[in-house]
């Protein structure tokens, strides 16, 4: 399946996922402790420069991932302008952009398998509440596999509807889709058991 990881290999790809996540946590804490728009602007510039280490393509990819934030930023700035807290407005907007961009940078430069391996290690403490980390990794992989299967099933049912109705299919196909998914879940459980179960 499509992931948000950049297909272009960058130096960041070779940094261990755990190290990147730790650095990200540090950067985020730092950003949220800063209040000066100038400093935050500098931080944002620094993060943009880090993107450039991976090339122009990576920067463009990063900008595309930030794009959905624009309505939020517009409202935020307009609101603060209206209440006269312009400085605060800029600080919040820049902080948000910098934090999201930094997080996206980690996402773009870490392969899914590395992320899953890292998640498995992070989930280790869950063993004490009865969730073995192995099972977390297994569930993640299963879900990745099921997303396209589920999408295909919904598409098939939508076509079955269209084939007999001039109107578009609505929420009603959720019921047959769920029934099918529940049956699938039983069969896949068999397949799982046939090869050694969940632990």
């Amino acid at each position: 399946m499509l992931t948000l990881t950049s297909p272009v290999e960058t130096p960041f790809h070779r940094v261990p996922a755990g190290a990147k996540l730790l650095a990200l946590a540090g950067v985020t804490v730092l950003l949220f402790s800063m209040g000066d728009p100038v400093m935050l602007g500098l931080a944002l510039t620094g993060i943009a420069a880090l993107h450039l280490v991976g090339g122009l393509g990576l920067l463009r990819h990063g900008l595309r991932m930030l794009w959905p934030l624009w309505p939020f930023l517009a409202v935020l700035l307009a609101w603060h302008l209206w209440t006269g807290e312009v400085r605060d407005g800029w600080a919040i907007a820049l902080r948000l952009l910098a934090a999201v961009a930094a997080a996206n940078l980690v996402t773009m430069t870490t392969r899914l398998t590395d992320m899953i391996a890292c998640a498995e290690r992070l989930a280790a403490p869950l063993a004490r509440v009865g969730v073995p980390p192995r099972r977390v990794a297994l569930a993640l992989a299963l879900a990745v596999r099921f997303v396209p299967v589920m999408a295909d099933r919904l598409a098939a049912l939508r076509e079955a509807w269209t084939a007999r109705s001039p109107r578009r299919a609505g929420w009603r196909i959720i019921v047959p889709a769920l029934l099918g998914a529940l049956d699938d879940a039983d069969r896949v459980a068999d397949a799982l058991r046939a090869r050694g179960g969940t632990d």
């Binding site: 499509l2 934030l69 309505p71 099921f146 029934l179 529940l182 969940t198």
Partner: protein, 180 residues
């Protein structure tokens, strides 16, 4: 055990696939999305514990970098964006919805509607507003008006959850793990 893992994984995939339904982004940067319908269904169908786990799994996939939020968004960035309160509230909403269906022995459609309303609105909205306000640098009271934009859609979703859950209960009584 295997069954419970595959159910959780399949429902996480369901929430993901509901993200393909075109979403409407309101001015505040948080979309009106069909995915909250999926979150409520996780609770009412799988029950509190498994429902919450399914939603956590979905959030895990998003965090790992899969573009599964409506509009193809994902990655770690969304957890420091305007939606963060809603995202953190999702598994709690599913848990509450599931708890109501498990504990309240009313007809399943009624219990599902109540659970979805309680989890997906009463519990989720304050958490969502809190995160939103934090991100906007405003107070919760100030962002409250924005929530009204979601209410009509979410009330429709509550109705759908009731219908869908009841239909499942009728057609495959054994598959409704929340009542199993």
């Amino acid at each position: 055990m295997e069954r419970s893992v595959t159910h959780v994984a399949l429902f996480a995939a369901l929430v993901a696939v509901l993200g393909l339904v075109p979403a409407l982004t309101l001015p505040g940067g948080v979309p009106v999305t069909a995915q909250s319908l999926g979150v409520m269904l996780c609770g009412t169908v799988l029950g509190a514990r498994r429902g919450a786990l399914a939603v956590l799994l979905f959030l895990g996939l998003v965090a790992l970098g899969l573009p599964l939020l409506s509009g193809g968004r994902g990655g770690l960035g969304v957890f420091v964006g305007p939606s963060v309160g809603f995202l953190i509230g999702f598994p709690i909403a599913a848990f509450v919805a599931g708890l109501v269906v498990e504990r309240w022995s009313a007809p399943v459609g009624v219990a599902a509607a109540a659970g979805a309303f309680l989890g997906g609105i009463v519990v989720l909205y304050p958490l969502g507003a809190l995160g939103w306000a934090l991100m906007l640098g405003k107070s919760v009271a100030e962002v409250q008006v924005f929530l009204l934009g979601f209410l009509p859609g979410d009330l429709v979703k509550v109705g759908l959850v009731a219908l869908v859950t009841r239909a499942l209960a009728q057609m495959r009584p054994g598959s409704l793990l929340s009542r199993g």
